[in-house]
């Protein structure tokens, strides 16, 4: 990894507020959704983590060794991304600068 690469990323991200401040924005303007779409059997072996705020959106699903699959989704400002269906884990992160439109969700099969 070159210094230029890391410096470039650092420069564009250096204006970010800290995690504590970001957390304060969790409930304004966006949504998070997740295990509500999992069956009771799935919920027993699946876990998820979601973060969505004006700063960025992030979803992470974990299905343990349950023969279930997950698909993570993140939307932030003008960008969105699906992880696609994966075994065991899936992650999605969307970031488009400060944005009032955001959501993060995990779906299980």
């Amino acid at each position: 990894m070159s210094t230029a690469q890391t410096n470039g990323l650092a420069a564009r991200l250096s204006r970010r507020a800290g995690t504590a401040l970001a957390t304060a924005g969790l409930v304004a303007g966006g949504t998070v959704a997740g295990l509500a779409v999992a069956s009771p059997a799935q919920a027993a072996c699946a876990s998820d983590y979601r973060y969505a705020s004006i700063y960025y959106s992030y979803a992470e699903a974990h299905t343990e060794d349950c023969s279930y699959w997950s698909n993570s989704y993140a939307h932030h400002g003008g960008v969105s991304i699906w992880s696609g269906w994966y075994s065991g884990w899936s992650w999605a992160r969307a970031d488009d600068g400060l944005a009032l439109s955001y959501s993060a969700a995990n779906y299980f099969s």
Partner: protein, 216 residues
């Protein structure tokens, strides 16, 4: 990463709007994550998928996979085509990009008013048309031939090999980087080489124009 009791608690606390429902006994029975532990053999995973199959199409694909030891690319294409038709029938206009590994990346419509309804449609179409299981198993077959139980190791090994992170980079560090504000600048996730490594591990990252311009 070794999933410790502390991490389980942290997940439960942080998973707002939902729940982290895994019991500790379930987790403690699992092999430590990040250790290089392996999934069950691929054919056994095909059999598990076959047992849960929702359609004759899904059963036929997985029967062939059990017999041959692998899912055929044509079967994945057919599963994706069926999913795509279902989404179109539901009135959504997704866009699709075929990745170098042959798997399609789905981009959501830009004008979705109800994200929950759209997400549930995606899930229903993927399950009913057989894509969810076939895609997940096909990805494992293609991108995780060592069957690593913790796919983050797939990404870490790839990132190290590409020279994007130091050789002592860990799955824990990757998780911290992805969950945080990325101010640590471990690597640029939008570099094509990094995207390839992340995608192979089930990690999708999209940084938009506003962020890349340093705006926002």
């Amino acid at each position: 990463m070794k999933v410790t009791r502390a991490l389980v608690v942290a997940l439960a606390v942080l998973a707002f709007g939902g729940s982290a429902c895994a019991s500790e006994s379930t987790r403690e029975a699992l092999p430590p994550q990040g250790s290089g532990a392996q999934m069950k053999p691929l054919v056994d995973q095909f059999r598990d998928g076959r047992a849960q199959a929702k359609s004759d199409f899904e059963r036929s694909v997985l029967d062939r996979a059990i017999a041959t030891g692998k899912i055929a690319p044509a079967d994945y294409e057919e599963a994706f085509s069926r999913y795509r038709q279902c989404i179109e029938d539901a009135g959504y206009q997704e866009t699709y990009t075929k990745l170098p590994n042959g798997i399609y990346r789905v981009t959501a419509p830009s004008d979705v008013a109800d994200q929950d309804a759209y997400g549930n449609t995606v899930r229903t179409c993927a399950i009913d048309r057989g894509l969810a299981s076939i895609e997940a198993l096909y990805r494992t077959q293609i991108d995780n031939p060592d069957l690593l139980a913790d796919p983050r190791l797939v990404a870490v090994r790839c990132l190290v090999k590409a020279g994007l992170v130091p050789t002592d980079y860990t799955a824990d560090k990757l998780t911290t980087f992805l969950r945080g504000d990325m101010s640590s600048a471990d690597f640029d996730p939008m570099k094509p080489e990094a995207q390839k490594c992340l995608t192979a591990a089930g990690i999708a990252v999209q940084i938009g124009p506003s962020e890349r311009k340093g705006g926002g």
